[in-house]
Symmetry: C2
Subunit: 231 residues, 2 copies
């Protein structure tokens, strides 16, 4: 019995397409038939997660559950969600399905460990909602990494607009503000920077490599999915 990976995506659609690409490229395979079967449910209509958490916008949980039930019906054995902010609804989703949901923050912690990042402060970039929900602060601090996050002014001027640029397909323009926000975290003592929103790695890849360790939450989740599929 081959395991089929379910991917709840579309948040945003470019990030989930990129996740599928990285899942494929990180899988050791010589021919099609050695790759991991997967179903990507790419539903960009899911109500905005940040607006829901911070601004009283429409609750995304019903749309998230629709996707998970679609992946169940398709025969998937686990679910990966290449959207960090959606993990604010992790408990509600996990309670509604018998499928294990791979947790992107746990996967990113595994990535920090794989990169050999010492248990010292790390910087975390993400949406305002991901940071406000303390998804990384709780998940990583439990494992020994203190988290530094951008100042509110840096979020407003750099990180939030850069995420919106990627969602509008203006990927190259997102590089400079993201690189600047990451650089400031390192200047404040971060030993590595977590790209804790799946739009961020796309922007960061559009320019020169950053001169410090970065933990990419897309690659981290892809590696966790490969471990699940191969176990």
């Amino acid at each position: 019995m081959t395991k089929i990976l379910g991917v709840l995506g579309g948040m945003g659609p470019l990030a989930s397409a990129h996740f599928m690409l990285r899942l494929t490229l990180l899988t050791p395979a010589e021919r099609d038939q050695e790759h991991i079967p997967a179903v990507l449910w790419s539903d960009p209509r899911v109500p905005d997660r940040t607006a829901a958490r911070l601004g009283g916008g429409e609750d995304p949980l019903p749309a998230l559950l629709r996707g998970i039930h679609g992946l169940e019906a398709a025969g998937c054995g686990a679910v990966a969600i290449p959207c960090n902010t959606a993990h604010g609804w992790y408990e509600g989703m996990q309670a509604a399905t018998r499928l294990p949901i791979l947790h992107i923050v746990e996967a990113t912690g595994d990535e920090l460990a794989r990169l050999g990042v010492a248990e010292r402060p790390v910087g975390v970039m993400g949406t305002a909602a991901t940071l406000a929900m303390r998804l990384y602060q709780q998940g990583l601090e439990r494992r020994g990494w203190d988290c530094l996050v951008p100042e509110p002014g840096e979020m407003e001027a750099l990180v939030t607009p850069a995420i919106a640029l990627v969602k509008a397909n203006r990927v190259a323009e997102a590089y400079a503000p993201l690189a600047e926000a990451a650089r400031r975290l390192v200047a404040r003592g971060a030993r590595a920077v977590v790209l804790g929103c799946t739009e961020i790695p796309l922007g960061v890849a559009a320019g020169p490599a950053l001169p410090f360790p970065v933990a990419d939450s897309i690659d981290a989740l892809a590696r966790a999915a490969i471990r699940w599929a191969r176990s």
Copy 2:
């Protein structure tokens, strides 16, 4: 009612992930919610299409139909298949579903027209099975383009190994043989070259742009899908 695009992929998985990326990047959108909802059924276990057609290998049709029925169950309104060779089973698939299946050869003809390629010979690169089934020769000749295809020796030395390299994630190595095969078609009189296997655009994108018009079957199918979704 939003239309949901079904994508029958995994043939290969890198090509279908790339299709999802191009579908997103070619869609005019400012935010997630303006993108096209899609379900990608990425099943790399589908028996090898070329082996089935040329070597008496296992028939892929049952696996293709399983995917199409999965996409129907997920609520999709049309199917796009980012694998040219699979279109050798187009009639069998279309007969088994009420969903329209966008035809990649028709879409690529539309792309040649969009590029303004005169109705003169065009070169076609594809798998040995796609060329032997005359998918492009029939589809394009009906619309006024004669087709030139690589010689058997060029298929064996250049095109077939390059496709296998992409399927094995060795994308950069595929560039030189593909560029050489395309150059030879142009030297024999082709006004443009059709990248008629969805692995080929990935290899061609890994090096300098080719100095003649190319019609990319992945982009062509993505544009056809966007027209369907927006109509």
